[in-house]
């Protein structure tokens, strides 16, 4: 009888283990945990780890500009506006600047739009300068550290270089007054003037409701191999080609326009989002700037992003292991793109899709209204929290001055 009871107990135990492992297998089947170089930090809660003080600037720096053109709320640079709104009501906000770890200046530098909707950066340096002069004269905290514990959101094409043309942006460089501050920007390229050390790269703004509205049932089979919609030649600004996107987009077109595996074209259909959900790979080549909202769209719709931009730095690169999620192709390897993509082993592709299916991954790319745990706002705060405590050289000794208030082009010194 003893043997029988032992056998029974063994059977029960093994069945229990079996069910547990089956469940784990099922879980593993669906998604995988995402851990970047900073660890498993996508789901960290920044509340309690840092305090942010929001400067009260006159409304000509933020509200009045927005009132002049409300398109600023929907274009891809809208992160600066939504970050301000998020911080105003966030639990990390403190009204006592003495206990704050970080200081935020709400100035909407990317809201001066042309009739077409593209932001003009010509007045932005003056606007930023004027805002900094204001906070330097009204509060002591700027001069205390010369901006080392301040952060600014600059989502424009080349960040704080404030120009849409790359050479002009490189010529100007980052605004000298911001050289000690932390910049939260969408532009990221290694060894580039406009990316300074310690910047936090964020995804461009993509409207979350619009994308949710176009979701299709997940059992719709993915039948498109490679998908891309966008310009290959910018005929208006670069009619000969070779300049726009460093010739990479033109190369994609010339090599693969007749390839049946590549669904690429310049026509933007109404079913753009639905088509992305039926594709396995989505190309994210550089344009005039290396970043684009296609990365966000690809992540939301589960399409593996194929990033063709040399030396690009992707959003939240220390929290998200982009190497394991996307495919990186050097610009010189574009003619071999089909060979590269078809030689990826299927289990690697399935693993990338599982990582993309992770809801915390999708959440980290979005700026939802109202904010939700794990979204891009929280990732920015997490990034800021990871930079704490401030190094000792952040705070200046009495009388020490590092910033040169008259540096930069003469035009920037005019008051705004």
């Amino acid at each position: 009888m003893g043997k029988g009871s032992w056998l029974l107990a063994l059977l029960l135990l093994s069945s229990l283990l079996g069910t547990i492992s089956v469940q784990e297998l099922e879980q593993r089947h669906r998604t995988e945990r995402i851990s970047g170089s900073a660890g498993d930090v996508l789901e960290d809660d920044p509340v309690g780890r840092l305090k942010v003080f929001v400067y009260e600037l006159p409304s000509k720096y933020n509200k009045k500009i927005l009132q002049k053109d409300s398109r600023c709320l929907t274009h891809m640079f809208a992160a600066e506006i939504f970050m301000h709104r998020f911080l105003l009501y966030s639990p990390v906000r403190t009204l006592n600047p003495e206990e704050a770890d970080w200081f935020y200046t709400p100035v909407y530098t990317t809201c001066d739009l042309t009739p077409n909707g593209l932001p003009l950066p010509f007045k932005s340096p003056r606007m930023m300068r004027s805002a900094i002069q204001l906070i330097a004269s009204n509060w002591p905290y700027w001069n205390r550290s010369e901006g080392a514990d301040h952060f600014f959101v600059v989502p424009h094409d080349f960040g704080a270089c404030f120009h849409y043309q790359e050479e002009k942006a490189i010529e100007r460089g980052i605004l000298p007054l911001l050289q000690r501050a932390t910049l939260v920007q969408t532009f990221g390229q290694r060894n580039h003037v406009c990316l300074k050390e310690g910047s936090i790269i964020i995804p461009p703004y993509a409207p979350p409701q619009k994308m949710q509205a176009h979701l299709i049932p997940p059992d719709t089979p993915r039948s498109i191999f490679v998908y891309f919609r966008g310009l290959f030649y910018d005929v208006g600004n670069d009619p000969e080609g070779g300049y726009y996107a460093r010739g990479a987009r033109a190369s994609v077109w010339e090599n693969f326009k007749d390839n049946p595996l590549f669904d690429i074209s310049t026509e933007h259909p109404i079913t753009y989002y639905e088509d992305m959900q039926r594709a396995v790979f989505c190309l994210c080549p550089l344009g005039w700037a290396p970043w684009s909202p296609r990365l966000v769209e690809g992540v939301i719709f589960g399409c593996i992003p194929v990033i063709i931009a040399d030396d690009i730095v992707l959003p939240f690169a220390d929290a998200i292991p982009w190497e394991e999620i996307g495919v990186f192709v050097a610009e010189k390897d574009v003619p071999k793109l089909d060979t590269i993509l078809t030689s990826i082993p299927p289990d690697v592709i399935l693993r990338k899709q599982r990582l993309l299916a992770n809801p915390s991954m999708k959440q980290a790319m979005l700026f939802p209204q109202p904010a939700q745990p794990g979204d891009a706002f929280h990732q920015i705060l997490n990034g800021l929290a990871r930079k704490l405590p401030h190094p000792r050289n952040a705070y200046l000794k009495r009388g020490e001055k590092i910033l040169n208030w008259t540096a930069g082009p003469v035009g920037d010194l005019k008051p705004w």
Binding site: R30, S37, E166, E167, I170, G188, Q189, R190, N191, H192, V193, L195, E197, S199, I201, P217, P218, D219, P221, R222, S223, F225, N237, D238, P239, E240, G241, G242, Y243, R246, G247, A250, S251, E254, N255, F256, D258, N259, L261, V280, I307, D310, D311, V313, A317, D318, E323, F328, A330, K332, P335, D338, T339, L341, T342, S343, P346, I349, L350, Q353
Partner: protein, 499 residues
């Protein structure tokens, strides 16, 4: 290979080569505006000529020049030093893993240069077939994983019931249905009820079914298929009932689908019917075949007929809360005088009010003594006896309101009903194989094929040649026979003596 940027000016004049850059316009220093140096004039003239050439061609051929001069990517070229030196920056802590496999760890300045780059085009831009196959395999893998994760969790096996009988178009219809069934990803059993008589006809269906890769249950039906459509519908119903009785006897498990051999099914149908609990109904599109196009001229259609949708649909009708409220049936009144009566008489074949193909049922409904079996179902043994005529599966139920509407409450048409049949007296080669090859070959005068050397009549060839040549000529003969046999079929009893 990247062309280095010369001057960071957009739309740089493409005809300035790197070597001659210093020679441009700057060679006219202090001379007055009227007197220009010869190099400037030369460049101006060249520019003008090229403009005229472009005008004549219709496009700027500078891009073509670039492509021809700088595009061959197979030839390795030394990296040209970047003219635009960017500030040296230490490796940023944000990105520890560089994506490009460059070996040099310390980059002096950036490798990425602003400016005009060549557009790299490989010399053979067409896809490699091996790679295309690999891509298809990847897609297949991805879709299988999708089905595993989001598709039907515990698929039930299918029991497909098909009534058939040997006739000219049987091979056409059964092969189509067979291929559809072979694509279904769920386990299935195909119950084929065959109304062949005795003799050679009874092996026709068996021969077709022998090619099947799905398990087949070949059920012989005693009785012949009648020639009138109305009788045929009734016989088919009896054949299906016999299949249901087989399911009941053997207690086969799964979802019963009525797939007629001439119907067309979409794959989504088989995914959708997995959702049925006891009995379900789907929408069927009716493709009423109009044999003689001249018969029903569009102008003669009455207003009533025009109001009907172009493809009538039979199926469940739902009310606003998604529950079964009634049935969309086929209105046969407009076609009453124009429909077909005999099989293959060339007129429109009409379906019944509700076709069997639009219903699916759980096989447990048919089993006897099954717990959980609902009480609104009649016992199968009592159905069809004493001359009772079964028109649709609704006659198997005591209460038709429990039928579940499938396919988004009947809004999705998942299969199409049509009947296409040849004349009942039409002849066709047995098993669609011409064996032995036809004996007499006569070249037809007006073949569309290119003129081949004339062949002697077969009798003379067989006696005078070696076995080797005989074999080759025999194959030649059979191919010719197939060709000429097509001409000959229409005039079977006659022999064409034209030479």
């Amino acid at each position: 290979m990247k062309l280095s940027a010369l001057q960071p000016i957009r739309r740089a004049n493409s005809f300035r080569s790197p070597s001659s850059a210093p020679l441009d316009g700057g060679a006219a220093p202090s001379d007055g505006p009227l007197f220009r140096s010869p190099t400037a004039i030369f460049w101006l003239l060249l520019h003008a000529i090229c403009c005229l050439v472009s005008l004549a061609l219709g496009f700027r051929f500078s891009r073509l020049l670039f492509l021809l001069l700088f595009s061959p990517s197979s030839s390795p070229s030394p990296p040209s030093p970047p003219v635009l030196l960017l500030h040296r920056r230490p490796d940023l802590p944000l990105s520890p893993h560089p994506p490009t496999p460059f070996a040099t760890p310390n980059a002096t300045g950036s490798r990425v240069v602003v400016g005009r780059h060549g557009i790299l085009v490989r010399p053979w831009p067409h896809p490699n077939p091996t790679e295309v196959m690999r891509a298809q395999r990847i897609l297949d893998c991805v879709q299988r994983e999708q089905r595993l994760q989001y598709g039907v969790k515990n698929p039930r096996p299918l029991l497909v019931v098909t009534p058939t009988y040997p006739r000219t178009f049987q091979a056409l219809h059964l092969t189509g249905l067979l291929h559809s069934l072979q694509l279904i990803p769920y386990p299935l059993t195909w119950l084929v009820v065959d109304a062949a008589g005795v003799g050679a006809a009874s092996n026709e269906t068996a021969a077709l079914l022998a090619r099947s890769r799905v398990p087949v249950l070949h059920i012989r039906f005693s009785g012949r298929m009648p020639l009138r459509w109305s009788d045929r519908h009734r016989t088919e119903a009896r054949m299906r009932l016999q299949a249901l009785r087989v399911i009941k006897e053997r207690r086969l498990e799964g979802v019963v689908v009525f797939a007629d051999d001439s119907n067309v099914h979409s794959m989504e149908l088989f995914d959708e019917i997995q959702k049925v609990k006891w009995m379900g109904a789907v929408s069927v599109g009716i493709v009423a075949h109009s044999g003689n196009p001249g018969m029903v001229a569009p102008q003669q259609l009455s207003k009533e007929e025009e109001e009907n949708s172009p493809v009538p649909v039979q199926g469940p009708a739902c009310n606003s809360s998604g529950q079964l409220a009634g049935w969309h049936t086929f209105n046969s009144l407009p076609y009453v005088n124009k429909s077909a009566t005999f099989i293959g008489d060339g007129a429109m074949v009409l379906p019944q009010k509700l076709e069997w193909a639009g219903f699916v049922l759980n096989s447990k409904l048919l089993w006897e003594e099954e717990e959980g079996k609902p009480d609104w179902v009649r016992n199968l043994d009592e159905v069809g006896v004493n001359g009772e005529e079964i028109e649709s599966p609704l006659d198997l139920l005591k209460d038709a309101s429990f039928v579940e509407p499938l396919g988004n409450c009947g809004k999705k048409v998942l299969l199409w009903w049509l009947r296409v049949e040849a004349r009942y007296d039409s002849k066709f080669p047995a098993g669609w194989v011409i064996d032995p090859p036809l004996e007499i070959i006569v070249p037809a005068k007006r073949t569309p094929w290119p003129h081949a050397p004339p062949e002697l009549p077969s009798g003379k060839v067989a006696t005078s040649q070696d076995p080797l040549e005989k074999r080759s000529s025999k194959t030649g003969r059979s191919s010719r026979s197939r060709r000429s046999s097509r001409n000959k079929r229409k005039r079977e009893p006659q022999i064409d003596t034209h030479i």
